[in-house]
């Protein structure tokens, strides 16, 4: 059984002369329990693909199956339920709620999840931020914010972690720490992880690398010997 099975997926924006094809007839099968990297330059369609897989956007045509269930025909309510029960997002710009402390941001997630895996305090402990619980996003560095974002996602107990350029706004050292965190989450068997990035070096830590260009998949490679995040340099 595949985690995701994607058939003839197309996504366009705009109409007539302003029409932009973000994804063009994509077919893809993503196995469960893997660390996947989707690699591509800016405008290659990787974020659009991630958004559709995460139920945040709807395809123009084609079908997306998650655990053999077609999510393409889900209505808004069903998509929300899908996101709530299955998906954890990590964004490039962290997207923490600025009015809530680090702990409250995680608590917000556990309240939504109804059946959280761990308590908010524990989640923050996992990402090494147990001493920054009372701090607001504006009082934390980018790396710390991203770790809160990962803690928020972990606490929710998702089946898959979708990460959109999680190190894009971070310096090298902090980026590595975040990747280690994601790697550990995967290694511990907690969840499947899909990371999209334009950074080819990050792809070296993945079990599977999917390369995209101009809305199409141009290559899929299985990485026989993935590196540890600490071994990656850019």
């Amino acid at each position: 059984m595949f985690l995701y099975k994607i058939n003839n997926l197309t996504k366009t924006y705009g109409e007539k002369e302003a029409k932009v094809v973000a994804l063009n007839d994509i077919n893809l099968e993503i196995p469960s329990g893997k660390f996947i990297v989707i690699l591509g330059a800016s405008g290659s369609g990787k974020s659009t693909l991630l958004n559709i897989m995460g139920g945040m956007d709807k395809p123009t045509s084609g079908e997306v199956f998650f655990n053999d269930q077609s999510i393409s025909k889900y209505n808004k309510g069903e998509l929300t339920k899908y996101r709530k029960s299955n998906i954890g997002f990590v964004f490039q710009s962290y997207n923490l709620l600025p009015d809530l402390t680090a702990l409250e941001n995680v608590e917000f997630s556990t309240e939504i999840a109804k059946l959280p895996r761990i308590k908010a305090e524990e989640a923050l402990g996992l990402v090494g931020l147990d001493k920054r619980q009372r701090h607001y996003p504006s009082e934390m560095s980018g790396g710390e914010q991203q770790r809160v974002s990962i803690a928020r996602t972990l606490a929710k107990n998702p089946k898959v972690l979708l990460c959109d350029e999680p190190t894009g706004a971070l310096d090298y050292k902090t980026g590595i720490k975040v990747l280690e965190l994601l790697h550990n989450v995967h290694e511990d068997g907690l969840t499947s992880v899909i990371v999209i990035t334009h950074n080819q070096d990050i792809a070296k830590i993945a079990d599977m690398v999917i390369k995209m260009r101009s809305g199409e998949i141009i290559d899929i490679n299985e990485n026989k010997k993935p590196l540890k995040p600490s071994e990656v340099k850019w």
């Binding site: 659009t48 958004n51 995460g54 945040m56 956007d57 808004k76 309510g77 929300t80 339920k81 996101r83 709530k84 029960s85 998906i87 997002f89 964004f91 710009s93 997207n95 709620l97 600025p98 009015d99 809530l100 409250e104 608590e107 917000f108 997630s109 309240e111 939504i112 999840a113 928020r152 929710k156 959109d164």
Partner: protein, 772 residues
Amino acid sequence: MKTGNKIIVRRNFEQLGAFISTLLIIAVAVGFFVIIKSVVASYQNRGEEYFQTNALAEYSFFGEGFNESDVSEINNVAGVKDVFARNVFDVKNEDKTFRVISAPQSPQINIPYIYEGEMPKGSAQCLLAKKYADANGLHLGDYLDITIAGQVYKLKITGLMASPEYVYLSKNVAVPFANPKEFGIVMVDNDFFQIIGNPYYNEILLSFNADANQSKTVESVKKAIDSSKIVSETEKKDQLSYSFFKADLKQINLFAYIFPLVFLFITGVIILVIQKRNVIHDRRQIGVMKAMGLYDREIIWIYVKSALLLSTLGIFIGIILSILIGQFIVSMFGSMYELPNYIYQNDFITWIVPALAVLVISTIASFWAVISVTKIVPAEAMHAETPKQGKDIWLQRWRFWDHLSFNSRYAIKSAVRNRGRFWAVVIGMIATISLLSFSFGFKDSLQETVTNGFENTAKYDLSVYLSEVPFETDQSFLGDKGVIDYQKTNLIKTTIKNGSKSKDVTLEISNDIFSMHNIKNLEGNRPDIANGIALPRYIAKLMDVKKGDIVSISTSDKQIDTEVTVSDITDQTANFYALATYDFAQEYLKLDNKSYNTIFIKSNNPSALRDKITESNTSMWVTLRLEDAKSLKNMMMIFDPFIYSLIFFAMVLGVAVLFAIMTINIASREYEFVLLRVMGYSPLQIIVAYIKELLIQIIIALPLGIVLGNLMLMGIGDAFSTDAFEMIGRIYPTSYLYSFLLLISVMVIVTFFAFRKINKLDLVAGLKEREE
């Protein structure tokens, strides 16, 4: 959702200016409504209880020569519970007028409320109205000197009292609110009247058994005694104090709706603006919440809860305010009435309506504002929103546009671009101007009523009221050199009926009414009274009568009992008289005797003439037109504190609305303002553009506010009209000016705070915040 609640609380603190402003508007709306409704409820309860406990007469006969034999006869009439025959007369001592009344001993009618002391016994004691005693520094045990026909009577004050007849210190219809320093009620034992040689009664007051048919009982009473002794009669509902009490309840009640409704509407508008801005500001957060699995309804509920929190707090503060300042508001009207033991009681039942109204309005406004949440696609919300597309506006088609400065063009374009906030400010300004012009106009209308009734309409200086005498009978004082002109008139109390509608109206019969009254018909011409009777517009309106209609007219003694044509409608706004000539009255109304009971006099020295008349004719009652006008003005002045509070509340509304929107405006346009400053624009130049935007809004709001203010004033006209006067909605040009100036001062206050905010903007942080 606990964490969602934290977002709400912190968000409200971030927008503290807008939050407090809205809170204030809600609190004023709720507080105002609760106070007014509670005042009405407690005033009504205590008033009714007072009239009941102290047994205000249910029916009164006024006349001459009533005696104990009449009392015995009336006591035998079925349905009569109690009879109180008494003597009442006014005596003028220099600038004071005393109304001397028999104190009820055994009969339980018009029982005085005794604050301290006891009922008078014998001929040398009296009960004195506490209001008069307080105003003149008199105390229990002091002596009151009353001079009657040159003889001074020393009366020991044995008690200080209030009377259910004088909840309002009404001397008569023309002087509905006398000055307590100059008009005192004195109750004396019947022995006093024996001493002054006045053993007969001139009033008979009745109360009825609960199961009695009042009109049949009254008819039986009239048959039981010599009805020629009865000059006039009054039901409880027409008793001056009682009718003012009822009218006041209606009028005060009306105010409970006008201001709170406007405030409530503005609350809805501000919540709408705040929440719309929140959704724009929180677009990304909403996207995240959706990505995390929050349903649309859950996100909407977070925002609605935020408005409900604001509303609940506002309701709570409003109720606290009503409890704290209710008694103070009531005391402002303390000089208007005397209701012993009246205590303002905050009626919790009155909380329900405004609380529900605020909650419903804020929920609807909030829901309407945040429904756009459902349109946000989480994937798109993660990215910065594309700035709104700039568009040419229609003004750009005109050549003058190119001649405008960048600052002016920027101000106009900003106004057009931020339509929601722009119109919210306009609506706030309309509300402020309308409430200000309404408040000032309310005062103007009262003033206009006095001016119209006593200055424009009345040409006479004195009115002399006397017992009816044949027309040929002359009065010696009419030869006085102080008399310039006079007109003998017969004022007859009649009942005019049109179908089921009936009204007691005084009929003025005179040879030349218009020599003493400047009365016009509705076309501005002299009314036609040759072919019928002329009715005042207000009375005609109440009775649904038009010019040319036929109505029935009768007097209680049936001397007049016929049908008559309404030949014209007049523009009288006070002292409502139906008008007729002697010739018409004798020919068509079948009035047998040509007589008069009133003389209107033009005088070159009214005060001196009044003194001369009253000194030599104790049975005549003289009033000066200017004193009547002053009395009515005094009554109108009672509304002054209320009017000033209305103006204050209108100002509060103006400041709150403009401040709330200004806060939102600057927060939303922070990026734009910072960018302008980074480009070299000074805070002053930005504020100038801001002021230009406000001026555009004023230009739009001013005429609409004035129209709305006038409409509101016209709407309350009927409620504030009484049998004594018709209130005509009028706003003087000066009031428009004051309203405008107050709005400008509101604008200046808010602009000052806006300038401070713009001056303090963080140039670095501001460039990272882009909402629109």
